[in-house]
């Protein structure tokens, strides 16, 4: 279970959110919605240990995760709004790099898994392209595939369907359902109401549920 308690974040004097409380159960799919610039990305970056919070607590299954930027655990998988693919690696290398080097997965196994994910996302034929050769929606899907390949227990998506057509959106929706079946906790930032309704158990609305 993921518990966020009294989390506060400021950029200089600009308070993004104050005393934010949020609990997400294992295997739950939570949509995070709210207008642009309200702090959704900031929240999941703090959750992933990429940003510091000014105060507050994050508890994962009862253990406290520090929010002061000293975390190096990769407990939360993250799909970035701007992808952050590694330009020097091909699609398949982007996906298999972490499993091979961090999880020490066998190369052949890692490639097989990556191919499976790419197939699910309709991207198998792009496996050997470099990021600069991809369209926007293709980059989005590589970013998703890269995060999935690490089998994280908590996975946060930042606008995963932006740039995706209906078919690809549906494919991502299917993935969310599959992972839910495997008990993965998922947080999905999205402006796509239809998608949010389709996949999520619950909606967290930044506009109404967060203090500033």
């Amino acid at each position: 279970m993921l518990e966020i308690k009294k989390l506060t974040k400021k950029y200089d004097t600009n308070t993004i959110f104050r005393d934010l409380n949020l609990t997400v159960n294992d295997g739950e799919v939570l949509s995070i919605v709210g207008p642009s610039g309200i702090g959704k990305t900031t929240l999941i970056k703090i959750l992933a240990g990429l940003e510091t919070a000014n105060s507050g607590h994050i508890m994962l299954n009862g253990d406290e995760l520090p929010v002061d930027g000293t975390r190096f655990d990769a407990k939360v998988g993250l799909i970035f709004q701007d992808f952050n693919l590694f330009p020097q690696y091909t699609v398949i290398e982007n996906i298999t790099l972490a499993p091979i080097n961090v999880r020490k997965t066998d190369k052949v196994v890692a490639r097989q898994q990556a191919n499976n994910i790419l197939t699910t996302l309709g991207m198998l034929d792009k496996a050997d392209l470099y990021p600069y050769q991809l369209s926007g929606g293709q980059k989005q899907r590589v970013a998703i595939a890269r995060a999935l390949a690490m089998n994280p227990q908590i996975l946060a998506y930042d606008e995963p369907t932006s740039g995706l057509d209906e078919v690809a959106t549906k494919q991502v929706g299917d993935i969310v359902q599959t992972l839910k079946g495997q008990g993965v906790t998922q947080l999905i930032i999205t402006h796509d109401q239809t998608f949010a309704e389709m996949v999520s158990d619950r909606v967290f609305d930044f506009a109404t549920e967060v203090q500033r």
């Binding site: 240990g49 190096f72 998988g77 952050n84 330009p87 690696y89 790099l97 080097n101 470099y130 990021p131």
Partner: protein
């Protein structure tokens, strides 16, 4: 022409010294430079302070004086190295300072998103640096790195100051013995050849890095 043939053997003997210092310096200063550039981002003030001081001294004094210091200066206080070893040590610690600044520039231009992506995928600092960051940094710094490598080719001639005979010294000797500038011409051509090899090798590696953007 005949005369050039006559002095060529002595020049080539000097060339051996030049190449020895050159390769050992590259091998030693690149890793040291990387470590130093990382040290400059250390959270500990003392480490940053020491490293900045080191870079300042290394870049701030002529390599010639550093050679003199390592060989004669340390010799006076009882730390003696053989001439060749002293030269290589002085060159490595000097060039590492320059390379560290170049690496630092490359590191600075890495977008933060690359570090973020590596972190959420669980890469440790070591892996992040060598698998994600360094390949991108290398691509940016190849031309500046080339400048230093080519400077090194020529700086090797400074070893004369601690009594080692490199190619330029061989040329000097011939020039003043025979009262002609011709040996310098030949030395110049040999330097040009070495530089051409370095330049072409680096351009090749740049091309290879250009399959991605």
């Amino acid at each position: 022409m005949n005369y050039l043939m006559e002095i060529l053997p002595s020049l080539l003997a000097g060339l051996k010294m030049t190449l020895g210092v050159f390769f050992l310096t590259i091998i030693g200063s690149v890793p040291l430079g990387i470590i130093v550039s990382l040290g400059m981002k250390s959270p500990y003030f003392t480490i940053r302070w020491i490293i900045n001081g080191y870079i300042w001294i290394m870049r701030g004094t002529p390599l010639l004086l550093q050679l003199i210091f390592v060989y004669y200066g340390l010799g006076m206080i009882g730390i003696t190295f053989p001439r060749f070893e002293a030269a290589v040590i002085a060159f490595i610690i000097n060039y590492a300072a320059y390379l560290a600044e170049i690496f630092r520039g490359g590191l600075q231009s890495m977008p933060r998103g690359q570090y973020d992506a590596a972190k959420v995928l669980g890469f440790n600092k070591f892996q992040t640096f060598f698998k994600i960051i360094l390949p991108q940094v290398i691509k940016i710094i190849v031309p500046s790195f080339g400048n230093e490598v080519i400077n090194l080719v020529k700086d090797t001639s400074l070893v004369y100051v601690i009594g080692l005979g490199d190619i330029l010294r061989a040329g000097n000797i011939a020039a003043s013995r025979d009262v002609t500038l011709l040996p310098y011409l030949l030395v110049g051509l040999i330097y040009l050849l070495m530089t051409a090899i370095v330049t072409v090798a680096l351009r090749r590696s740049e091309k290879r890095l250009n399959i991605w953007r």
